[in-house]
């Protein structure tokens, strides 16, 4: 499964990716400034020594990791996109994606590695049926 973490390197955004292809790592790097631009004209600085540095760091590492995984594995082109990302436990996040007649629900479980990175250790799919 994928690791994603943000390492301290002042002045620029750095993403370290392990167990994922170089192409995905490049995509992740490209995606970061784009998402920052949507919120702020100045790039957001990510300066984390560890994903466990703070509650927000933990959340961000996990959400970035699940978004990266979704981008590579959730290939349906239709629907309404992500309708929610909910924390269900300290190391468990649930993402919901709207489709006609249903909501696809994917529950991710994470662990913190010794290097301070976040690792996806579990992924479960379920459905909220509509209508």
């Amino acid at each position: 499964m994928a690791y994603i973490a943000f390492a301290k390197q002042p002045g620029r955004v750095t993403t370290q990716a392990r167990w994922i292809t170089p192409a995905v790592a490049v995509l992740a790097l490209l995606a970061m400034p784009l998402s920052a631009c949507a919120q702020d004209k100045e790039p957001i600085m990510i300066n984390l020594d560890s994903c466990d540095e703070s509650p927000l760091a933990r959340s961000r590492c996990m959400i970035e990791a699940l978004l990266d995984d979704l981008s590579r594995t959730y290939l349906l082109t239709g629907g309404g996109g992500i309708s929610s990302i909910d924390q269900k436990a300290t190391w468990v996040y649930e993402v919901s994606l709207s489709q006609r007649e249903r909501v696809d629900v994917i529950t991710y479980s994470f662990e913190l590695t010794d290097e301070g990175l976040v690792e996806i250790v579990g992924k479960q799919k379920s459905t909220r049926s509509k209508g």
Partner: protein
């Protein structure tokens, strides 16, 4: 019930639709007509308090995201209803023939007895749902604002764009899989389930709206009961079920026109062959065997020879 021995019109009303078998049209070249009639009552969903614009939650569920909607005008509503009725009816009407493998519907024409097959017709009657009106199903419809790319809908709640082609997915070659959602939903209303229902990744004991139920390969995804627009012969199930019911002949199950019924599950297993527990009753079932090509009435000799008459024969 038994079929009348002479040509007649036989009707039966089911929970989800009405059916009429018309044998008065039978002759040496024409089969019996079986018409399924579905009455759908439509209701507008508009912004509150007469406002021109407003918000509406996906699936009508207040826990889901909201989309921008606009008020229906008389013209837009009438155009939408007309397109809905015309396109859904033409999609399902006159697409299937059922080959008659039972000693029924045998009528004389010019001194020769012919065994008649079934021509499957579909009629969709659409009206505004109002108190006291009678419909098999009520469908609510909200009108998406032009700025909205998508809105959550299901079999009894549509958004205004559910009658237009929409890309649900891409196939393995990267080509878009397009669908007009309302024809899929009409399929549900007459008793059809999803294309992979009963398959390994979509057991009927689980949620049959799960993503895998819409197809695990290109063929299933392209099906109208998956994510696409392709019709398959097993989609003639509702007409087969009616024929088994009103003729008393055949083993096609009789679900209560409800895709979640156990009988429906058994049927899906039969027609898809996906369920290993139902390998005996496979898609090879000859009872009211569905075809997507016209099969003409047969003489006794042709029945005996198991002939399929698919081009107009020269009858003397």
């Amino acid at each position: 019930m038994a079929l009348p021995l002479t040509k007649a019109k036989t009707t039966k009303n089911f929970a989800s639709f009405n059916a009429e078998l018309d044998t008065t049209v039978c002759d040496r070249n024409n089969n019996a007509d079986l018409t399924i009639t579905l009455k759908v009552g439509l209701r507008q969903i508009n912004p509150p308090a007469g406002a021109a614009t407003g918000k509406y939650h996906d699936y009508g569920d207040v826990t889901e995201p909201q989309r921008d909607i606009i008020k229906w005008s008389t013209g837009s509503w009438n155009r939408w209803k007309s397109t809905f009725q015309r396109t859904a009816q033409s999609y399902w009407n006159a697409k299937f023939w059922l080959v008659n493998n039972h000693p029924v519907l045998e009528y004389d024409d010019g001194g020769t007895i012919y065994r008649h097959n079934i021509f499957c017709r579909f009629r969709l009657i659409v009206g505004d749902a109002s108190p006291g009106s009678s419909h098999h199903h009520i469908v609510d419809v909200y009108r998406l604002a032009a700025s909205e790319p998508w809105g959550g809908s299901h079999s009894t709640l549509y958004n205004s764009r559910d009658i237009a082609p929409y890309e649900n997915d891409k196939d393995s070659g990267g080509s878009p899989i397009m669908q007009r959602a309302h024809v899929h939903e009409i399929g549900h209303l007459i008793g059809l389930g999803h294309s992979h229902e009963g398959g390994v990744q979509c057991p009927t004991t689980g949620d049959t709206n799960a993503a895998a139920c819409y197809g695990t390969n290109d063929a299933e995804k392209q099906s109208v009961m998956g994510m696409g627009m392709q019709l398959r012969s097993h989609h003639a199930y509702p007409w087969r079920m009616v024929m088994s019911d009103i003729s008393g002949k055949g083993t096609v199950r009789k679900p209560s026109a409800n895709r979640s019924s156990a009988a429906w599950s058994n049927f899906v297993a039969q027609v898809t062959g996906n369920n290993p527990n139902h390998t005996v009753a496979s898609k090879a079932s000859k009872d009211w065997e569905p075809k997507m090509k016209r099969h003409y009435p047969r003489t006794a000799a042709e029945v005996l020879a198991n002939a399929a008459i698919t081009t107009r024969p020269q009858r003397t």
